[in-house]
Symmetry: C2
Amino acid sequence: MRVTRDFLRGRGRERMTEAEKDALEAAVDRVETLPARTIVVNRGQRVRYSTLLLEGTMCRYMDARDGFRQLVALQVAGDFVDLHGYPLEMLDHDVGTLSEARVAVITHARLDALTRDMPHLTRLLWRSTLLDAALHREWIFRLGRLDAAGRVAHFLMETFHRLDAVGRTDDGRFALPLTQQDLGEACGLTSVHVNRTLRRLREDGLADVARGTVRILNAAGLARVAEFEPDYLYLEDGAWARDAAE
Amino acid sequence: MRVTRDFLRGRGRERMTEAEKDALEAAVDRVETLPARTIVVNRGQRVRYSTLLLEGTMCRYMDARDGFRQLVALQVAGDFVDLHGYPLEMLDHDVGTLSEARVAVITHARLDALTRDMPHLTRLLWRSTLLDAALHREWIFRLGRLDAAGRVAHFLMETFHRLDAVGRTDDGRFALPLTQQDLGEACGLTSVHVNRTLRRLREDGLADVARGTVRILNAAGLARVAEFEPDYLYLEDGAWARDAAE
DNA sequence: CGGAGCGTTGAAAGCCCTCAACGTTTGTGG
DNA sequence: CCACAAACGTTGAGGGCTTTCAACGCTCCG
C-alpha cells in the first residue's frame, strides 16, 4: 500500500499529480508502528521530522496546571500529524498516540528539497496545515459557544465526516478509541458530564457511543444540536455530501 | 513607510532577506483605509486577494445561531490577516475590522509568482499562517481549561505580547478597541460576566481595562491566573523576554 | 481471580448566565 | 454649546448548567 494513499483524501487530493505523489512517497524515511498511549513529540522540542499517520488515532494536546490536558486536535488516517513542526521548527504542544498507530516518518531535510523544487506540492502541503487551522477554529467555536450536548455532538459529527472522507466509516458507525475522559479533554468537560451527555444523546436517539464505537443514529438531529456545518472541512462532494444535499 | 515593516516583526523576521522584503513589497496591489466595524470577507466567499494589516485592529469570527459570534482571532499591525485564504481559496469564517484599519492588499495572482520563484519566502509565508494556528491552539486551551478570570487574563497577556513585538505598547499600556461584548465574544463569556471579571482583575491589582486602554499592573500575577506561557508566540528574545528571564 | 481502569449514578456546591434596571459615555444634530 | 439618543458599562437577584465529591458496578487483562 502506498503510504500517501489517504493524504488529503477527500479534501482536495485530486489536485495532486502522480509525480507529486511519487515525490512525497520517495521522501518517506521509514514506516513505524507506535504503541497506544505514548508521547511522540514534547512541547518545546526541536523537531527534525514529521509524521504521516497511516492507521490509528493520535492527538495533539496541551497540559493544564490541574493535571488535566486539553486536546487541540484529533488526528486520523491520512493526516500529516505534525507538519506544523516543519516551518515552525519546534512545537507549542505535545503529540501522542491514542490507539496503536502506524506512521510514515518524513525528515525535514527531505521536505527542504521538495519545497525547493515543487512549488505546487508545497502549496498542497501548506494547504493541509491550513485545513488543521480551520479545524482549530471550529474547536474554538465549539468550546466558546456550545453547551455540553452541542460540543459532544459537534465533535462526533466532525470526526464522522473526517473518517468518512478516508473510508473509515461503515453505515454511520466508526471506531473511536477515546475514553470518556479523553472526550472530556477534547470538549472542555469533565468525564462525569461527558457520561451524562452521552446518555442524553442516546436517549434522544441521536448517537450511541459505547466501547470505542460510535453510531450516528440521527445525523440531522445531531447537526442541529451541534450547529454543525461541514464546509470548514473543505470536503470534496463525496457520497455523504450528495446524500445530505437531497 | 514600507508596508512590510511589521510583518513577522519580532517573530522570526530576521530570516527574511532584503530581496524577499522587496519582492513582498512589490506584490502589494494597493493600500486602503477601512472604516471601523465593517465586514471585509464573508464566510464561504471565494477570495482572490489577501490583506496585510498595517495599522488598526481586525478580527476573524464565526456566527452562532443565537446571534452572538465567536472571535477566532484578533489581528494587529503586521498580521497577514487572511493569508489562509490563499491556499484554501475560500474562508470558513468572516473577517472584519474592529477599529479603523489601514491595510495593504496583495492579490493571489502575485502570490502565485512569489511562491513559484522564491521557496524561502514561501516558507516564511507558510510559517506566518502557522503562527496563527499556534494562536488558535492556545485559544482552544483558554476556552477549554480556564475559568473566566483566566480566560480574560490570558487574552490580555497574549495581546500585550503581540503588540509589544510590533512596538505598540507603552510601559505596560496598550490600546485595545474592544467593547466588553467583544471581549466576551473572544473569551466565550457574556458581556456582563466580562464586566465582573475585569472589575475583579482591577481589584486584585492585576490589570486595568477601561475606555479602550489596557494597563498591565502585575504581569507575573496575570500570567499565573492565565497559566500563560508565551512560547507559543514564537517571539524572538526581545526586551520583554530578557526582563522576564531575570 | 484479583486489580486497575473505565463507566455510571446521586447529591450538593459553584460558576456563569439571564433578566432587569440604571448610570455613563459617545456621537450627532439642532 | 447643548440636548438627546444610542451604545456601552455597571450592578443586583435568581436560576441553570456543569463541576465536585463520593460510591459502586462493569470490563478487561495479567
